[in-house]
Symmetry: C2
Subunit: 493 residues, 2 copies
């Protein structure tokens, strides 16, 4: 039953907003408005009902006293009312045969109200209602228009509208987050840098639906190419390893676990109430299940982008092409600190580059051992000729292009020329240009529109490249294990 | 002699551009234009001369056949001609009593031409001319208008002007970089994020002026509040420790050393030709001289900003105030990974916060042990009341404010209210708001304009706060050592 039901959170036929308030700042009001706007824009195609016993109409919509009074089908309820009223409302949802409820309300276990939370759990079990929350932002589905995030997209400051909590455009990245605040921050970040989201789930206290259910569901979601996970604690360890392990073979999961340090674990315990456990256990579990584990929020976003747009590396040989020696060194330092050796190119490749030197295709004083440093007189032809060789080579598994645009010999259209040559590659490719002024942003944006993830520093690009190598390692290991398991019984019989 | 002479690079009375080319893309042309524009804008106030034996006028300026033909005083020459012609030109500079020469030209040791470089060194010694370069970008002084960066600020792409290598506005951060490419990238970054620069020096092959001379000089530069250093190798180790140690007592030095890993060191060796030495030696040297050592380019910029605008922490007790539990945990994790323990608040402070709970000033379920988590119903009053207590407390040495703007209870003007209360503090304060959309950028920008460095993620903010604690530790140690040294002889006598 579990697997099938989660679907209702993303593709409901009828949605009831329980607590559809008149006051524009209240969660129930914002959520109702989200759905209405998405309905008008043709993104949300279900039926929508407002539940509020104290109002006739909200935002032009007729108000029902209870979910039970609605004639049409309601398969999803979004509950945004004071905590103590939640059990009653949930009971009515059960009687109406609602399949899923997103409980936005806070005031449960996170403030010490464990008993109230247990009551919610009992009611959900009794009626078989799946629950997301309580104490969460709930769901944002960029494709179906489900949006239970109670934070207004735009706020009015000094009389002017300011984009405060924008929703990202549709895209390939799914977000699962235990923290609502981090969730809102991630949406804000993704909007600003034009990263696209498939499904976003902030599940709060996880009285029912947790990361295991969601990973399982997203594993089969066509719109999702990568799952990014922010967690503070995992309760169902064995199921997590099992499910994540299966999903990792289909699509990458990248995770960040907060509460790594002693002080961090103590803070996590007082935040979610859950005992975080020692970080080493999490590290082992992630490794076993093929999850790419990152250290910071920035890395979570950077690696999700890389994994969404580039294939995993079949082996660990990465080659760096650069026009700045220093930037190349930075990338090497980062890769080696993450356990990826940047090996010297093999003899046959070195000979190909020596030949290019002799033919004056690349500078005679270019460094070619890896990184390949085309130096400050690099032209786009030097890049494309070098890339041709690397793309053809079976030794090269992953390519990091550092093209700092500042040098005069690199013409303005160089990103297009790089894109052209990279189209011929099946190898993973990551790019970097440093700077925050016009041209640099333009270079990165152009590359990204062509599916080449581009980063602001060599170190961030290196971490992104590492994630493709790390994921490649993971799936090779998982595949071997899967084959081993499938062989065993035959051998025994 | 050494110390006094370096001044000429930043405050020349007469500058000759040797190799003032007619072609707009050539280094000598771009440099001449830089000076001319800065002259028109009233930033550069020295005399300017163009040297080019093959032209009558360039950019409207009369051309001299040689530096020797110039009647007026020339104390600085900028040399941008083919490498093989450099010794001759330098010789003429010597005869003209030029005090400093910036040799932009490449084609020396970095391409194997060590002999030519030695010749340059001999000429400079013979005439006592100080040299920056060769193979460098040279100098950008945002206050005096010296700008020898041969990369055009604006490039024309598809018929439209695009800001490609902008120069940052004047400000308190000095940049010393061994790599020109990284230097250009840093200028681009600083411009884009509105960080101000005092003096920028890319010194390339350092045949004469090196990081030791520059740190010494910048230590006495009034416009410089922090020195940020990118290096691949240090040749004069003892002098570096000595000079950096003295300067660290006056102002912070933050450094990044590329070539940390085995592969990175190999790449560094083929980049600058210098043997990089093992990283541990550098670590020890930096520690001994009070230099704050960071790991990435992003950290270099982030910490430079923190150190430029906030005082060092007198001790290591940092307190975090947040409205997002997860974000607080991330900051703790980062701080503890860097060796800063985030301690539980002492009894008296805990009691003050308990009292605030009893008075309903902060939520009863707020976490108060450190981080202080005001939760998703935080108001600006909760922040200001909490900050008042922390600012007054002698236990608290450094404050990290995480104020994620997304929560509805945090009003639009909250940055102004935070700024107001922070003005009363002499403790170092760092801030964080996550997001890349309008409101988030606005929050950070507002805080920064008031001198509170603000960061995009809790981890980056934590690294910045760490740098203030680390610098505080360093200067305490250096001070003790200095006092010990000064006491010794007295005790002996």
């Amino acid at each position: 039953m579990a697997l099938k039901d989660v679907d209702v959170f993303f593709k409901p036929r009828g949605v009831a907003i329980v607590g559809a308030a008149r006051e524009s700042f209240k969660p129930g009001h914002v959520i109702l408005r989200n759905f209405l706007e998405n309905m008008i824009n043709g993104v949300f195609s279900g039926e929508l009902y407002a539940v509020n016993p104290n109002a006739d109409r909200v935002l032009g919509l007729k108000c029902y006293r209870s979910v039970k009074n609605i004639d049409g089908v309601v398969d999803l309820s979004v509950i945004a009312i004071p905590a103590k009223l939640v059990p009653g409302a949930l009971e009515e949802c059960g009687e109406k045969n609602v399949e899923g409820a997103i409980i936005i309300s806070s005031g449960f276990k996170e403030v010490g109200n464990s008993e109230l939370e247990e009551e919610v759990k009992r009611i959900s079990r009794r009626y078989g209602i799946r629950i997301i929350g309580p104490n969460c932002l709930g769901v944002y589905d960029a494709y179906t228009g489900v949006d239970t995030i109670f934070l207004q997209q735009t706020r009015t400051i000094g009389g002017s509208p300011v984009l405060a909590t924008p929703r990202p455009k549709p895209g390939p990245i799914a977000i699962i987050t235990q923290s609502g605040a981090i969730g809102a921050a991630i949406l804000d970040y993704m909007s600003g840098v034009e990263m696209g989201v498939s499904k976003f789930i902030s599940y709060g206290n996880k009285v029912d639906v947790d990361e295991v259910d969601l990973i399982d569901y997203l594993g089969n979601d066509e719109k999702t190419r990568v799952i990014a996970l922010y967690i503070e604690s995992i309760d169902r360890g064995t199921e997590f390893i099992d499910t994540a392990g299966k999903v990792s073979l289909k699509k990458p999961i990248v995770a960040m676990k907060a509460g790594k340090s002693e002080g961090g674990a103590r803070a996590a315990a007082s935040h979610t109430g859950a005992l975080a456990g020692t970080y080493r256990i999490y590290e082992a579990a992630f490794k076993q299940s093929g999850v790419v584990l990152v250290q910071t929020l920035e890395e979570l976003m950077d690696c999700a982008k890389a994994l969404a747009y580039q294939p995993p590396a079949p082996e660990g040989n990465i080659t760096i092409v650069t026009d700045g020696g220093g930037a190349g060194i930075m990338a090497v330092d980062t890769l080696e600190s993450l356990g990826v050796r940047v090996n010297t190119l093999p003899e046959d490749l070195l000979e190909r580059f020596e030949e290019m030197k002799r033919k004056n295709i690349i500078p005679v004083f270019a460094a070619i051992k890896n990184p390949i440093d085309l130096t400050g007189i690099a032209t786009v032809e030097m890049y494309t000729e070098s890339l041709k060789i690397l793309i053809q080579s079976s030794w090269v598994n992953c390519i990091l292009i550092i093209a700092l645009h500042h040098i005069p010999t690199l013409e303005g259209d160089f990103p297009d020329r790089l894109i052209e040559i990279c189209r011929e590659s099946t190898k993973p490719i990551i790019a970097c240009d440093i700077g925050e002024a016009e041209m640099s942003k333009r270079v990165r944006s152009r590359l990204e529109k062509a599916g080449i993830p581009a980063y602001q520093t060599p170190e961030r690009a290196a971490v992104a490249a590492w994630s493709l190598i790390e994921y490649g390692r993971h799936i090779r290991k998982l595949m071997v294990e899967t084959i081993m398991k499938s062989i065993k019984p035959t051998q025994k019989s």
